[in-house]
């Protein structure tokens, strides 16, 4: 568990000032948050309260109603977004989807970088155990496999900030471990992650901090860790 001093040492990725979000009328207002490299934040709250809207606003898909976001994250390839419905190109192959991640992750896709890109795609697919499904269209895969494809795409991208919307959703225990292990490796290398979660217990296990939306306000809580977290 990093101490408060260590925490402030970590590179600041994103801050907001008096941020208000919503469509037309505000769902959550006056947020002053900061996200640092190497931390995982769980976002909790009942349905329809603005969790997804917050992720979409940070991802730049929705404009803030008020306030501003100061981001040091690269415009291209800096954010890895896994929406609730995963955002995969269902009619294209697994490899095609993962390659989209590698494409923005390695911005200068010059011919001599081609080998590096292919290497990234392959290792991401392998680490998710999808080698045999590489050429299959995503629509033929099961829900759990599709979640692994979305994770592999993010792995190949290596973004600074991962935004994941309930992406552990319907995974079984083995797959949760596989996916979390991969995410933890990225975070250890300096990425940050904000993830919407429904299970409070699981959120506490995974995250360094918890954001909770209550009555249109964002409350923050630092998770006290009893057992040391296993990070490679």
């Amino acid at each position: 568990m990093p101490t408060a001093a260590q925490q402030s040492d970590k590179r600041l990725l994103l801050t907001t000032q008096n941020l208000s979000i919503g469509y037309g009328k505000p769902l959550v207002s006056a947020m002053n948050i900061e996200v640092r490299a190497g931390e995982i934040i769980s976002l909790l709250g009942p349905s329809g309260i603005g969790k997804t809207t917050l992720l979409r606003t940070i991802a730049g898909l929705v404009s803030p109603l008020a306030g501003e976001i100061k981001s040091k994250v690269a415009k291209r390839g800096g954010i890895g977004y896994i929406p609730q419905r995963l955002g995969l190109t269902r009619h294209a192959s697994v490899a095609h989807n993962v390659e989209l991640g590698a494409k923005v992750g390695l911005p200068w896709a010059l011919p001599f970088k081609r080998a590096e890109r292919d290497q990234r795609v392959l290792s991401a697919i392998k680490s998710m155990g999808l080698e045999e499904k590489m050429r299959e269209p995503v629509r033929r895969l099961s829900g759990g496999q599709q979640r692994r494809v979305a994770t592999a795409r993010t792995l190949a991208q290596r973004p600074n900030l991962i935004l994941a919307d309930e992406f552990l959703g319907e995974l079984d225990a083995t797959n949760v471990a596989l996916v979390l292990d991969a995410v933890n490796r990225l975070v250890a290398q300096g990425s940050a992650m904000i993830m919407v979660e429904h299970h409070e217990e699981r959120a506490r296990e995974i995250a360094d901090r918890i954001w909770r939306i209550v009555d249109g306000k964002l409350l923050e809580e630092v998770v006290e860790v009893a057992v040391e977290k296993v990070v490679e």
């Binding site: 991802a59 898909l61 390839g77 977004y81 955002g87 989209l100």
Partner: protein
């Protein structure tokens, strides 16, 4: 619910009938004689079709090994298919470009509106009017046909395509945008594969449509089998006309079968059990048990 639906259909049909009466008035009585006329016309002029259109023309002299290759039907049909193919290919590419600009979920409104106006303009003139315009400008022949059909194809296919693009799932688009993919990467990497089923079926439909319309634009001198149809119509050789029409029908059916085979690569049909004739003819429960039997095999 069902009664309301029946009521709505009844109102629709009755109002259309009243409109028809108002429009044509007493002419409706002529329909009775029409059928007798049709019988006479069919017996005396149309049937049997004159298949001499499949024999080599007397002039110019046939230099091919197979006589069919020098026949009116072959020469006309091949030219029509060539015109349709070229126009569909060029039209498809043009339509894809314009429809990307016209789709509301890809581009801002200030690009949507001009793209849609261009597409509407190209579509609002039917291909035969385009053909007349091009024949006036560049003269008789297949080039006018190709240009006329390409114009119409861009307008018509473009509309179908931007509607297919707007109907696609938003979530891959959002993921791609958040990741920072450029517009061209989103188009090539996400939109085209995601809408491939629609794009392919529309492309094949357009090809078939262009072949059917190749018969019409030939009439104004823009090349293809329509040129010969027009010629036989002028000389009142209706039995030759019907032979050519039957050949066009055959080609259209063939293309339809071809398109069914091509589309099976991208549809989700392959994931579901296809009903066989055997199961279609049986009751649903029996058919279902047949499928279950299959699965346990």
């Amino acid at each position: 619910m069902r009664r309301r639906l029946l009521f709505a259909i009844a109102i629709l049909v009755i109002s259309a009938w009243l409109l028809l009466l108002e429009l044509v008035g007493d002419d409706l009585g002529r329909l009775g004689n029409g059928f007798d006329n049709l019988l006479v016309f069919f017996e005396e002029s149309l049937w049997p079709p004159d298949w001499s259109v499949l024999e080599a023309r007397s002039y110019p002299k046939c230099e091919e090994g197979v006589e069919l290759f020098c026949s009116v039907a072959w020469i006309g049909m091949v030219e029509t298919i060539k015109i349709a193919f070229i126009a569909t290919a060029f039209g498809f590419v043009g339509a894809l470009l314009l429809s990307a600009f016209a789709a509301k979920n890809l581009m801002p409104l200030w690009l949507n509106i001009p793209a849609r106006i261009i597409l509407a303009a190209m579509r609002s003139l039917p291909s035969i009017i385009w053909a007349i315009l091009f024949v006036i400008v560049i003269g008789f022949g297949p080039l006018s046909g190709v240009l006329a059909m390409t114009f119409y194809t861009v307008g018509y296919l473009g509309k179908l395509q931007y509607e297919a693009i707007e109907g696609m799932d938003n979530s891959p688009l959002e993921a791609g945008r958040a990741m920072g993919l450029r517009s061209d990467e989103i188009m090539i990497g996400i939109v085209i594969p995601e809408t491939s089923n629609h794009l392919l079926s529309q492309l094949l439909f357009m090809f078939e449509y262009n072949i059917r319309h190749g018969t019409v634009i030939g009439i104004v001198g823009a090349g293809g089998i329509g040129y010969y149809i027009n010629m036989y119509l002028k000389f009142l050789q209706y039995d030759k006309v019907i032979a050519l029409l039957l050949i066009i029908f055959l080609v259209v059916v063939l293309i339809d079968l071809l398109s069914m085979a091509a589309r099976s690569f991208v549809t989700e049909d392959g994931d579901v059990k296809r009903p066989s004739w055997f199961t279609v003819l049986r009751s649903p429960t029996k058919a279902a048990s047949h499928h279950h039997l299959d699965e346990s095999e």
